[in-house]
Subunit: 418 residues, 2 copies
Amino acid sequence: MSIREEIIAQARGAKRAAEVLANLSTEMKNQALEAIATELENSMEEILEENRKDLEAGEKAGLSRALLDRLLLNEDRIRSMADGLREIIQLEDPVGDIVEMWKRPNGLMVGKMRVPMGVIGIIYEARPNVTIDAAGLCLKAGNAVILRGGSEAINSNRILARIAAEAIARVGLPAGCIQLVQTTDREAVSVLLGLNEYLDLLIPRGGAGLIRRVINEARVPVIETGTGNCHIFVDEGADLQMALDIVFNAKTSRPGVCNAVETLLVHRAIAPDFLPELYRVLRQNNVELRGCPAVREIIPDINEAVESDWEEEYLDYILAVRVVNNFEDAVSHINTYGTKHSEAIITNDYTRSQRFLREVDAAAVYVNASTRFTDGNQFGLGAEIGISTQKLHARGPMGLNELTTCKFIVYGQGQIRE
Amino acid sequence: MSIREEIIAQARGAKRAAEVLANLSTEMKNQALEAIATELENSMEEILEENRKDLEAGEKAGLSRALLDRLLLNEDRIRSMADGLREIIQLEDPVGDIVEMWKRPNGLMVGKMRVPMGVIGIIYEARPNVTIDAAGLCLKAGNAVILRGGSEAINSNRILARIAAEAIARVGLPAGCIQLVQTTDREAVSVLLGLNEYLDLLIPRGGAGLIRRVINEARVPVIETGTGNCHIFVDEGADLQMALDIVFNAKTSRPGVCNAVETLLVHRAIAPDFLPELYRVLRQNNVELRGCPAVREIIPDINEAVESDWEEEYLDYILAVRVVNNFEDAVSHINTYGTKHSEAIITNDYTRSQRFLREVDAAAVYVNASTRFTDGNQFGLGAEIGISTQKLHARGPMGLNELTTCKFIVYGQGQIRE
């Protein structure tokens, strides 16, 4: 079989499985999730052995230490995959909910019923835990999933996907519910991107290169998950201690993630008070500042920020800092350079807080809180499948609801249209 | 300027206009809509003159009478465009609504605010009234729109778009809110499809060829609006008079539209009672029946339905008819051949009515009503921009809400993430 034929065969299986899944009881789906969790815990040895192959190949290929760490599985990490599935069991099943229903003048009852998407493709990079997380979320929302992981993790992904498929088969679900693309050939991605006859949705999770390729090639509807060039604007009259705590948290609590702050905007009126203290605290924590000329007048011994600094998602202990003359300049900077992910204002001004929420164009806009909260769990959606930075269908963290769609249901008593 | 440069210039203008539009009051938007309506009524002569050019060119090019009729504008049709805008004025402005809001354990208030999409592209065929309808709906939902109409209607579209742009400029809105692609060159469509940097959404409205091209080429997120191969299943024990009325309505009230019924499925147990009466009524109204062998045993003098009949959207006075053994076979036929548009069951069985709503995979599923109700107005959404047959973002008739998206807004009191 060619790669294309192989993937189409999987897609057909997924479509058949999706029909079964769409009408499965919550109880059955939860049993399947528990079966996977149990089986993961019972297969530690086997998983670690396969993971070791990936790690050895990765070392030989000279992967960075950070990448190797993302690849690594250990007993704790496997246990936390199983725990993740049990958290999904606890989440409410969205399928079948009637979101709203109303009566028309002719007596027709028109409602919207939440139903699964159908077949979802996930294309992701290094981390093997995504195999289990994504499969669990798709399953709970009643979708069949086709997983395509990074080639570095192929052995780990294969064993994880096999364990999941066998576990759900044992409780009576079709094996087509959870499938992994077995080849590491890049052609497989192109095939997936063209399968609009079978796939209802494709979610790419990974670096900018992957996302771009998916957007350029895909015929299947895609949800773009994206990079976060996030900003915090410290307004005139802000509580400066609060501002300091929030900036410190948003920059240093986990610099490598998409909701970390990358550029700080400071109102001119408070810059002389705020910036020296900020510099002192961040320097102690090895954060490099890069400033505009006005910032460097106040803190002379930092490097100058150039145009590209306003555009860059550092994902590192670096923070670009700019002094702005007023609220409008701050919003304009954010709407120009931001990637529409997460943006925050620290302020005590009522009008400007409201304007910021309205006028800044991003998936999540904050008043007086850290951008680091942009996350399915933190927002209370439960686990997340990714953070959408596009506007269609879902914006921001996507949980179970975002893996469903609504159909119109209509109860009549013989109505015909005039 | 090349076509590409010209369209990018329009897209830039649209993006700037969208920023203004996003924060415009409902009152201003309604004033703009009223200004367009008034200006249309004041420009009858001019519009009719431009429309005449299209009609003459169309006649020369040998367009069918049906197509020429779709092209035709007259005073009534212009007035009904203006009335359509006034109906949009009456619709509630969805922008700024807080759809839901909840408190997290750490005190963060997390909510979802409805906001415009941004810039929307509409690619459509012959009918010039779409120019005004689509512009009006996009405007009310706070979006800038770039319109690309069919070449047959170019003179009509140009004058309509110019009137709209001038009218809104007069009440102070940026002209970039409503723009028409001026060239009829097909390259313009390719350019639009690639503008994911500027366009947030693209909606194609037209035949299968246009839709396919858009899906194959687009990098911009697309909502597929589609063809309707709609079914009615007359179940055992159905009220046969109700079934007859509904089938007659769904087939003959407007056969050329996507929510008309194309295939009728009849339960074996009632076929001998129902089919002769159906045949009598439909034959009187010049509807051609094509039947499976079991149908032809009961009505011998109709043609046999071949495989392609189950797949075809006739958009004509033709109805394919099949006898099915049971409910499951009916659902399976629909899920195999349907285009996921509108599907109905006529039944008096409680369990099967509920199962039909759950198990049939379509944008709108009905019990005991005509499929012809799948329409934004009929469902009570107000005017519609199209009927989505995909699952992402919106399914079925799309009104103002579907031209918006939600962003997360977060009110904090200094929260940082652990």
